[in-house]
Symmetry: C2
Amino acid sequence: MASTNLSRDIGRIEPSTMADVVELRLREYLKKKAFKPGDALPKELELAEALDVSRNVLREALSRLKMLGMIESKKKRGMVLAEPDVLGGFERVMDPLILDQKTLKDLFELRLVLEMGLADVLFVRATDQDLKELEQIVNKEVNQIQLPFKVKYEIAFHGKLYQMSGNDTLMRFQNMLLPVFEYVVSEEAKLNGEAKVGRVTHRDLLELLKKGGPEDFRQGMREHLSPHFERIK
Amino acid sequence: MASTNLSRDIGRIEPSTMADVVELRLREYLKKKAFKPGDALPKELELAEALDVSRNVLREALSRLKMLGMIESKKKRGMVLAEPDVLGGFERVMDPLILDQKTLKDLFELRLVLEMGLADVLFVRATDQDLKELEQIVNKEVNQIQLPFKVKYEIAFHGKLYQMSGNDTLMRFQNMLLPVFEYVVSEEAKLNGEAKVGRVTHRDLLELLKKGGPEDFRQGMREHLSPHFERIK
DNA sequence: ATTTGTCAATATGTTCTACATAAGGACTAT
DNA sequence: ATAGTCCTTATGTAGAACATATTGACAAAT
């Protein structure tokens, strides 16, 4: 019947609590005043009074900003603006079981995109030591037939690549994406059978990294990931 | 003097508030009980009692989860687990002025990685309509000499690429990265003078997208971004 | 003179009570 | 069946009170 789509047509009213408003206003305030990390904030009571809300509501909003690492507070010293952790909010929410299918699919793809884009940074940053360590991973990997071990070295190899990028944010990011990636792969496996393995192995990628150029590596990676790319079509 | 490093050597004690603990425990609780979106949570008073904290502290923790979109609450109905917005936490924190230099640099690189990795997804998803729209952007772009307009079309072109990926999460993500990207570029420009333009233009990229393959497009994009890649060395 | 102890002041952390408000349920009247 | 009324209830908000850690000033001890 038509009523099913009514709420979509007319648009729901979602009441925003005072904590929501205060959180927003605080962030605007911090931006407008161009606060920098280390700067002191007004006292709770002053803020509460200025916003005309109870200290309780204010603290709920402050608690949110504290979670994101935007502000820190100490007993008598008051509150100061801090350098937030960009990925902190991400981390807390990255649970395959509570994210919707579309988002999971998007994140799966996102990781593929990252892998494919990694080449140029790698060739800029990789040290001889890095390559040695990567080789050790590849050497240990051979002869592993049981699935759990294969997965373990799969993670180790690709994780090492991200570490070699020298980009901590990127490395953490991909680490957070891992559970999603594994989840999607395992779910797909239930439907379409075991994932095939790409023709290009980890050892091949290592060789490309040592002797080839970014172009070759990208092409190798594309081939290595081809079973996954098959899925997104 | 030695005392400067003392706090690093011995490690600071950072007191965690009850709200921190409760937030963590709530998230563990939700995972352990395998709550799915839509499931109802216990009442505030029950949770507070079970955790042996005041309703106030509990609400501070709940307020955090509400901010992330993990839970929703209505007046009498109680609270239910919701599907969080993966990028919500990210969005709130993405301010070039409060992030530290290393993180800004990491995020700058991250966007380069995304651009380079985009090719294969694009070739899977791009429709004729998309290509037409991209062409319109390129056509409008010519003859723009003033900087603000050039920047505008730069954003429009690359933004359209992300939109063509059909990956909403990816598109939103790159949109959030934009301020950081612009900030880093403008800061660098102050030091090292105006950024040079890559030899491959947007029109070239469009042609590659229409008539070439992923390989060609990646190579073109690499060339297009080469001024930026120069910076990260 | 530098360190250590004491004490008052203060801003955040925590609790408790009370009330406001919206939503659900049951029941009735039209 | 629909709409109106009333009660119940879980969240939303407010305010007061106390706990606790930290600061700063000053005195005491080495």
